[in-house]
Amino acid sequence: MAIGSSTRTAEGVSLRQSRPRYGEKLIRALLAVAALVSIITTFGIVISLLIPSIEFFSEVPLTDFLFGTTWTPLFKNGEFGVLPLLSGTIVITLIAIAVAIPLGLGASIYLSEYASSRVRKILKPTLEVLAGIPTVVFGFFALEFLTQLVLVKIFPGIEVFNALSAGLIMGVMIIPTIASLSEDAMAAVPSGLRDGAYALGSSKRQTAVKVVIPAALSGIVAAFVLGISRAIGETMIVTVAAGLQPQLSFNPLIGMQTMTSYIAAAGSGDLATGSIEYKSIFAVGMLLFVLTFIMNIFSVRLVRRFRQAYQ
């Protein structure tokens, strides 16, 4: 066959699409919608927070809100200083991560590096069951069991509603999140790296601490961030076990209110729509949103920095 003839298509070798592929387009559209839902929702939340928040800050100066030390929105001539809610959130979150990070990371190291595959197959799903318990159950466990049977014996002066029990139980609740995600990250470290470490005379501990954890660090940090986000956003445990008393204090033995538990408590009350108390819910929500957003950006930076150092 001559070369010239093959370039001519007068004979009509059609390379055009022979029949429409509607299925492809449909699937593509459905998948795009699936991706868009979360983005649209995020924007919707921001806007719905923003409008009442702007109205709120037109009545209450931003500095009074951010630096005020009294939070009494439901009183007549109530004050809107958010620091007591902020301190409650910080205290309870710190207690929770002080429990969850060491125990969660420890559990993940055990599961990934020490446990036999048989033990791991039993232990990991069991641990994940913890994550499936409704948080309200955790809340009553903190209130009825931890506070009344355990903590009162150690700290006689402890209040019935206290930050300590809420923080401790919240920490337990977060353990599976941190353990499971960290274990996934460590299990994804190529076994060749472990072999290399052992072949240089490393012990199990040295292999885990000096090779596997650094190699899995970005995944582990991501697990920590998710755990901390859950602690900040957790509502039910705090509402049930820590009480509803906004107090600017770092004493974990007294009752406290967090930002989330204020939103839950005020939102379930009978506040008049459009009132300043009602709008305060959105202002607190906005602050919560901004804080978690900043934390996420910070952690992405952190992960990237570690990655650069190791790659």
Binding site: S116, S117, P190, G192, L193, R194, D195, G196, A197, Y198, A199, L200, G201, S202, S203, Q206, K210, V211, P214, A215, A309, Y310, Q311
Partner: protein, 284 residues
């Protein structure tokens, strides 16, 4: 595939490069394997191997896939301990001490018997920290700059990386990574270096560099190398052990040692027909 003449020439070249004559008997062996079998659970991967490893020589293990040569190599520094269900029978003696004896700490064994793997398994750390890792876990304190330089120089990598010691080891090419792994291995000051197909993932130029390095290192270290590349075994090794996989009466495959001898003799006049078939390319 290989002409015996070619291999002889390669051997002569390798030996004159080393400048040593090879003793006929293995005097003062570093390792002595006596009737060694390695099991994975009930499966016997390699059966009844008796073999000495001579000091400051390169011993090559060759044979078809599945003949158990890597498994056998991993029993020299107890790396098989890390595989659940793996078990060694017989005696693997290191300077007369059974390394599977009751008082033996596998970590101590691995400090004396280092290993280089098929895939360059550099750590996700800087070039410097990769080399310093072994000395650090083994208790070295203080400034390791001199040691790092010495090891990188010995691994023929120093000139390429001396300005980039803080850079990630992942920035290196595959061949450089494998030389880094060798530098990391000798930083622990082992006596023996086990190499499990160290050039399998490298191009011919990088392979040639590693081979030159092996010959050079054999002045100070005892090297055991597993390779699929017969020319490589012929080029670099002093002695060669040929393994094959055999079916037993229950139709189960086991690795067996067929022939062991000086590389030149094994390649030029193999005594076993299976060896001859394999090295002449009729099988495997």
């Amino acid at each position: 595939m290989n002409q015996p003449n070619n291999i002889s020439m390669q051997l002569d070249k390798a030996m004159s490069a080393r400048g040593v004559s090879i003793p006929i008997e293995v005097r003062d062996p570093v390792f002595t394997l006596d009737d060694v079998s390695v099991f994975y659970g009930d499966y016997e991967a390699i059966r009844n191997v008796t073999l000495p490893i001579a000091k400051n020589e390169i011993t090559a293990f060759i044979g078809p896939s599945g003949c158990g040569k890597s498994t056998l190599l991993r029993s020299f520094n107890r790396m098989n301990d890390l595989i659940p269900g793996a078990r060694v029978e017989g005696v693997v003696a290191y300077h007369g001490t059974d390394i599977y004896g009751p008082d033996v700490d596998p970590i101590e064994v691995r400090r004396k018997v280092g290993m280089v793997f098929q895939k360059p398994n550099v750590f996700p750390k800087s070039i410097y920290d990769n080399v310093a890792y072994g000395p650090k876990v083994n208790g070295a304190k203080g400034n390791l700059d001199d040691l790092v330089e010495e090891c990188l120089t010995r691994a023929a990598l120093w000139n390429e990386v001396k300005d980039d010691l803080k850079k990630s080891a992942y920035a290196l090419s595959g061949g450089q990574q494998q030389r880094l792994v060798i530098a990391r291995c000798i930083a622990v000051k082992p006596e023996v270096i086990l190499m499990d197909e160290p050039c399998a993932s490298l191009d011919p130029i990088a392979t040639a560099k590693i081979e030159d390095l092996m010959v050079e290192l054999a002045n100070d270290y005892t090297i055991v190398i597993v390779t699929h590349n017969m020319q490589q075994a012929a080029r670099v090794s002093d002695r060669t052990a040929f393994f094959t996989a055999e079916l037993d009466d229950k139709d189960i495959r086991h690795g067996r040692l067929v022939e062991f001898g000086r590389t030149r003799e094994l390649f030029s006049s193999p005594t076993d027909p299976r060896t001859e078939d394999y090295i002449s390319g009729r099988f495997g």
